[in-house]
């Protein structure tokens, strides 16, 4: 009989550095997966893994508002760090000690921490794109005095 389980992994990183690797399935344990160590930290994530841009695509993470979590996510928000969520599925009727080598990746999401809200004890972290749906961004450059001086008046 299949006992379908999901394990979620969270990585916060930028171009050069991985700051945090968390997993929420193996309680109180640091596990090794894909040659990296993932420490335990409770969190839940769900949301739109894929969709049409602009239709509220994004992932929401619920995490206890521990000092560590507050620090990790506020740093990520302030420093434009990326957050990668990996969701694996496996048969948990077998061992539950470490990630099984044959677990299947059923969801993957890379986003920026676009918002944090919640209560004193629970944080809800929104992952998505910082590409604002309002505001002019293109063409990217505008005429300035530096570029063209004081232009001719015709």
């Amino acid at each position: 009989m299949t006992n379908r389980s999901q394990a979620q992994y969270l990585r916060i990183f930028n171009e050069n550095t991985t700051y945090t690797r968390w997993q929420s399935y193996y309680i109180g344990t640091t596990v090794t997966w894909q040659s990296a160590s993932w420490s335990y930290h409770p969190f839940n994530a769900d949301g739109l893994i894929g969709g049409t841009s602009g239709s509220d695509v994004g992932v929401s993470i619920e995490v206890p508002a521990t000092s560590t979590a507050v620090q990790v996510f506020t740093d990520a928000l302030s420093s434009n760090r990326l957050c990668q969520l990996l969701i694996y599925e496996f048969n948990s009727s077998r061992q539950q000690v470490s990630p099984p080598s044959n677990q299947l990746l059923i969801g993957s999401y890379v986003g920026e921490v676009t918002g944090i809200s919640g209560s004193f004890s629970l944080l809800q972290v929104q992952l998505g794109s910082s590409l604002a749906p309002v505001g002019a961004q293109t063409p990217p450059r505008k005429y300035t005095n530096y570029l063209v001086g004081a232009p001719i008046r015709l």
């Binding site: 379908r4 999901q6 979620q8 171009e15 839940n44 994530a45 769900d46 949301g47 739109l48 893994i49 894929g50 969709g51 049409t52 841009s53 602009g54 239709s55 509220d56 695509v57 994004g58 992932v59 929401s60 619920e62 434009n80 990326l82 969701i87 599925e89 299947l104 990746l105 059923i106 969801g107 993957s108 999401y109 890379v110 920026e112 992952l127 794109s129 910082s130 590409l131 604002a132 749906p133 505001g135 002019a136 961004q137 293109t138 063409p139 990217p140 450059r141 505008k142 005429y143 300035t144 005095n145 530096y146 570029l147 063209v148 001086g149 004081a150 232009p151 001719i152 008046r153 015709l154």
Partner: protein, 750 residues
């Protein structure tokens, strides 16, 4: 569990860009006004991007560059006017224009040069027009510009002369750009002009600096670029209108039969039609990746929304595009696309591609898609399903089949059996998967109906004449001259000051928490606690023997019932370790002599006839400082007594008060107003029992003139720790050991 599907299913076709109706119809945006007045750059305007690549006589864009600098001079005798203009052609680096492609009005005239990343030619801006007798005065601009750095900008220098009285001197100059701004093309990874809208989108996304590279799905972008390239959907246009990037991506993608999608958090373009590996439209039988049946769908997990009649009615799509001859100015064309025998007399829906579309086939195929999707795409679906084998394989854009039995009639089973394209995937922590699907119509052969219609749609191939037959206003031989414009980059004549035009704010502030607590203002609804007065020591510190009372005006009420407590020195409030020492209406309390080190509290209660004991809830004061000091050692409250005039040691209960035992004189001494216990000079008395019952008397005069006697009498007749200001560490300190008196500290009357 969070379910993030907040949008009604009916919005799905609009959000995916399947249904988009123009909000207004206007003149073709690709049209250029030829005989207008020369325009000038205005600070704050976007710097235009000329994005095009003319291939096989298709493409290119006609632009009207604005001026930043000018120089106007005339001949002192003939009054011939010489006009020089510095023009901004585009952001970025453009290959050199051809001599045949530069105009003033509709005429190929003047002398041109082109540079990148600098201004072109060395002339200085200014107006040096002089008045010539008998000639018309040239009324040229006086504010002629100052020059700038033109960083990463392609500039033109235009020179032309005008005979006396020529009124065309201030007319707009134009350029036909065959090869636009250089970018790194995604398909061949080469730096050069591009006509692929995906290249333009990537350039804009990267330049906006708001989107990490890790969130771009470059593989999908490359597939989309291959699709537009293979099907002849090219961008040849001027990008100069301020836009929201997301809006622009959504809008422009539809005109290239693409759509913007977020897959696994990564942004990408995706073709709206099935495609082959080489990017061409797939017109063969469509296969699907998974079939959903009753076994997969959860209870209440099926929701369907049919597209409204208004979005289904047949229309005639009027597609505006731009025909671009090789040797002349482009003209706007209109192609009407409709199904046979439908919408012959409208309604008409205009779709303006003229700003960037120079291919008739491109316009026709987009039009075919618009009218076909109205006819054949009928509904959208939302499913809630349990996880299964698809869970690790299903991705955005996959084609799936939904086959459900509908048993509503006796002896007859019908089927809801359609193909769909996956538009959204929502995965929850519970394992439930939610899918938003849009109908994917196929014909009897299993081909995508839309793909077949779009693939087969093509233009007439007819090229309209431009209507121009006279080219006499062109300078000789210009029309066929493909030579590139010369270049002449020059530094700015007058570098802008400040040089960078920027104000860099210092970034050396580390956020810090606020400083020490600032007490909140008292709540006026709460009674102020009573305060304790009567301490005669320094700063109002109470001493043994002081009479403590509630300070006048701080009573909670008239007739307040006072309860006095002595609490341990560490107490911050009245607690079970405190001892009630006195109580009564307006009663005071006199500190006991053995109370050193304790704190005094008063609890005030107001008369309340409804209370069993006649008094209401208590209001507690803050504690006083410890009597005689924080730890009992600082026994004397007077920081600097006027005098410590007398001391004696009484020999015991039987001895008369005042008897001074000379053998103990070296035990105590005075130094000025401060009384010390000498270190190491104590000589044990040969009869400790006598001392055991002895009294120590010290008398000093406080600064306020009060004469204070401190004695061990209150300790029951022997000298204890408190009565010696805590110096003694044994309640019977006279056992003969000098260590019983820690004489390292002053017996501080200071």
């Amino acid at each position: 569990m969070n379910v993030r599907f907040n949008d009604p299913l009916s919005l799905l076709p609009y959000q995916t860009g399947l249904l988009v109706t123009p909000l207004k119809e206007a003149a073709a945006r690709g049209q250029s006004s030829l005989d207008s007045k020369q325009t000038a750059v205005v600070l704050g305007e976007p710097i235009p991007i000329v994005f095009c690549r003319r291939l096989s006589n298709v493409g290119g864009v006609f632009v009207s560059p604005s001026a930043t600098e000018g120089r106007f001079s005339n001949n002192a005798s003939t009054n011939e006017l010489t006009v020089r203009l510095q023009l901004v052609l585009s952001e970025g680096d453009l290959p050199q224009l051809q001599i045949r492609d530069v105009f003033q009005r509709a005429c190929r005239v003047g002398t041109w040069k082109q540079s990148y990343d600098s201004r072109t030619e060395a002339w200085l801006p200014g107006n040096v027009i002089t008045s010539v007798a008998g000639k018309k005065f040239w009324n040229c601009p006086y504010y002629c510009g100052t020059g700038g750095t033109y960083d990463n900008i392609t500039t033109l220098s235009y020179l032309n002369t005008h005979a006396d009285g020529d009124e065309t001197w201030d007319k707009q100059v134009h350029c036909f750009v065959r090869q636009g701004m250089k970018v790194t093309r995604i398909l061949d990874d080469t730096l050069g002009p591009s006509n692929n809208v995906v290249d333009l989108a990537l350039y804009l996304i990267r330049q906006s600096s708001r989107f990490p590279e890790a969130m771009l799905d470059l593989d999908a972008m490359e597939s989309a670029a291959l699709f537009t390239n293979a099907n002849g959907f090219f961008y040849n246009g001027l990008f100069d209108q301020s836009n929201n990037l997301e809006d622009w991506l959504q809008g422009i993608s539809r005109n290239f039969l693409l759509r913007v999608s977020d897959k696994n958090g990564k942004k990408a373009f995706k073709p709206r039609l099935p495609v082959n590996d080489n990017g061409t439209i797939k017109t063969t039988t469509i296969s699907w990746v998974f079939t959903f049946t009753e076994d997969h769908i959860l209870p209440d997990g099926f929701e369907i929304e049919y597209i409204s009649l208004a979005e289904r009615k047949p229309i005639c799509a009027q597609m505006l595009w731009r025909q671009q001859p090789d040797d002349d100015i482009g003209i706007i064309r209109v192609m009407q696309v409709r199904f046979s025998n439908e919408a012959a007399n409208g309604p008409f829906e205009q779709i303006d591609l003229s700003q960037f579309c120079t291919s008739e086939n491109h316009a026709v195929k987009v039009g075919a898609y618009e009218v076909a999707r109205r006819k054949y795409v009928t509904h959208s679906l939302r499913l809630r399903i349990k996880p299964d084998a698809f869970n690790s394989t299903l991705t955005l854009g996959d084609i799936v089949r939904v086959r459900l039995r509908r048993e509503t009639e006796v002896d007859e089973v019908s089927l809801h059996d359609f193909l769909y394209e996956v538009e959204r995937i929502n995965k929850t922590i519970s394992g439930i998967v939610e899918l938003d699907l849009i109908h994917f119509p196929i014909n009897a052969s299993g081909q995508s109906i839309l793909a077949v219609l779009v693939n087969n749609a093509s233009g007439t191939g007819v090229l309209l004449p431009t209507g121009r037959s006279n080219f006499e206003c062109d300078d000789p031989d210009r029309r066929e001259d493909p030579d590139p414009l010369p270049t002449d980059p020059q530094p700015p004549p007058d570098p802008p000051d400040p040089p960078d035009g920027e104000e860099d704010l210092p970034d050396d502030e580390d956020p810090a928490p606020p400083g020490p607590d600032v007490p909140n203002p008292p709540d006026p609804a709460e009674p102020n606690p009573p305060e304790i007065c009567g301490g005669t020591g320094g700063e109002g510190r109470p001493l043994p023997g002081d009479e403590m009372e509630v300070c006048g005006g701080t009573e909670v009420c008239d007739g307040m019932y006072n309860e006095w407590y002595l609490c341990p020195g560490s107490s911050t409030e009245i607690n079970p370790s405190c001892t009630k020492v006195s109580q009564g209406v307006a009663v005071k309390y006199i500190n006991a002599n053995n109370s050193a080190g304790l704190r005094v509290f008063v609890r005030g209660r107001c008369p309340d006839p409804s209370s069993p004991d006649g008094y209401g809830p208590p209001t507690d004061s803050e504690g006083t400082p410890p009597i005689g000091g924080d730890d009992g050692k600082d026994w004397a409250p007077t920081p600097n007594p006027t005098s410590a005039t007398r001391f004696r040691i009484n020999g015991g209960a039987a001895a008369p008060i005042g008897e001074i035992r000379s053998e103990l004189l070296d035990f105590l001494s005075t130094t000025g107003p401060i009384i010390y216990v000498k270190r190491g000079t104590f000589t044990p008395y040969d009869n400790p029992a006598l001392i055991y019952y002895g009294w120590v008397w010290v008398r000093y005069t406080a600064p306020n003139g009060t004469v204070v006697n401190v004695s061990s009498s209150a300790t029951g007749g022997y000298i204890d720790n408190a009565s010696l200001g805590g110096l003694g560490i044994n309640p019977k300190p006279w056992g003969g050991s000098v260590t019983n008196l820690d004489t390292g500290q002053p017996w501080p009357f200071s």
